[in-house]
Amino acid sequence: MKLTRRLMISALGLAMTVATPSFAAAEGTIAIITPSHDNPFFKAEAVGAEARAKELGYDTVVMVHDDDPNKQLELFNTAIGQGVKAIILDNAGADATVAAVQAAKDAGIPSFLIDREIKESGIAVSQIVSNNYQGAQLGAEEFVKLMGETGKYAELLGREADTNAGIRSSGYHDIIDQYPDMEMVAQQTANWSQTEAYTVMETILQANPDIKGVISGNDTMAMGAWAALEAAGRTDVIVVGFDGSNDVRDSIKAGGIKATVLQPAYRQAQLAVEQADAYLKNGSTGVDEKQLMDCILINAENADKLETFALAE
């Protein structure tokens, strides 16, 4: 329902743009397509991209695919039909998205991808993604330090089908596994979900009451785990997350969760728009298609500088 409403508003906005050319931006329209804004991470992307596009003189259409590749393809067809100048996309699947991006390319509309990759290069103009491997290693180094290099811990994994779940886990283990006194007693998926993480954490706690730390594949699962630990009176357990959400920032500031890793989602979305602008004006972005953006460790020292997936200078 929500999507339908958003779409209708988007379509209405577009129709108005066409109907009232005196108000239309000179540079044309950029479509911004992401997963559901229920997750503040994706909302930050949309807000960042939209703000930059407006600054650069574009109109915007903001749409959500809810991680449904079919819906995403429909949105692409809509955008193609409307004749947008470029598409900024956080996609709904590394394999399934290839066809949608190819369709836009065939229609002469360049796509600029953020956050998630697709499994082909040469179809999108840019693919700008967080360096999840580097970020996970940062988080793991902090986790090991907080654990005093020793003790029992659990790992919460993201959704198995998601590339980022695997890469973060391997980044964590490339660091943690070199410390022989760090003992993983549980490794379970909570599918990126806060409520699932709560339940999983409860079960892990029952089986391993002597647990000392939890390293989580993202912040929403870290929040779920922390809630379960709090409910069990186990606020001594060290929790480290990944993403850099405002929720985890607030928990860090309140002495709850100990650390997270910021993905520069807001800047990433802005950068994609800048590259779209450069491409539309000069026929080239001037940089490689695939770009890895480094992540930043967030702990009590810098948490108060974090706001909506961006770190103040």
Binding site: A94, E117, K119, S121, I128, V129, N131, N132, Y133, Q134, Q137, T163, N164, G166, I167, S170, G171, D174, I175, Q178, P180, P264, R267, L271, V287, D288, E289, K290, Q291, L292, M293, D294
Partner: protein
């Protein structure tokens, strides 16, 4: 894994009442499509390491004092003059560096073994050489201008490549047994620096103990 599959296959065969021996698959008989990311990237690392990467580092490495004095002039300036970095906003500079120094600390017990060198004769640490088996970071991969992320399927593959190159480095290191403290060591290698004051942590492509 292979052994497990064989055992599983065997027990299934027994369970089915057939007296059939399931042979292990012949090593090297898999085609590229059935290889894991890890295997493919290990093969890629093997292909480029000796033939391209080692000579590339030798050809481009600057002397350690050149790097340290450039860093005194500021991180960005040093990077622009001598560094290599991927074309992505916020990427740190990587440097290829060579030199020699006296071992002032040898940590060979850790999985992340290191040698710390004094290169200026003041008794202070100037550079730390990573020996592995655990080698941190992606300095080798990211300082090679012929390795480009766009050419790889995704981050997983690209991370495995970095790891495989680090593994090659560890495998290539041959050091005499015993305490190396006080010995002179010559090195060439790559380092990633995130600021001018970051400790210089080198992944070596050349490492010799001088007689």
């Amino acid at each position: 894994m292979r052994a497990m599959t064989a055992i599983l296959g065997l027990s299934l065969a027994v369970a089915l009442g057939a007296c059939k021996i399931v042979p292990n698959p012949e090593p090297g008989s898999e085609n590229a499509a059935s290889q894991t990311d890890e295997d493919r990237m290990a093969a890629k690392a093997a292909e480029v390491y000796d033939s391209q990467l080692v000579p590339y580092v030798s050809g481009k490495a600057i002397d350690l004092p050149v790097l340290t004095s450039a860093l005194h002039g500021g991180y960005e300036a040093a990077g622009k003059a001598h560094g290599i970095r991927p074309q992505a906003e916020g990427s740190p500079w990587n440097f290829l560096v060579k030199g020699q120094g006296t071992v002032i600390e040898a940590n060979r017990e850790s999985r992340a073994a290191t040698l710390t060198l004094d290169a200026t004769g003041d008794g202070q640490a100037d550079v730390t050489i990573q020996l592995g088996p655990v080698i941190k970071g992606t300095a080798l991969r990211d300082s090679a201008d012929f390795i480009v992320f766009t050419d790889y399927r995704d981050q997983i593959e690209f991370a495995k490549l970095a790891r495989a190159l680090n593994d090659r480095t560890h495998a290539a290191i041959t050091l005499p047994e015993g305490d190396l403290t006080g010995k002179t060591v010559r090195f060439e290698g790559a380092t990633t620096l995130r600021s001018a004051t970051d400790p210089i942590l080198v992944v070596p492509t050349v490492l010799d103990v001088q007689p």
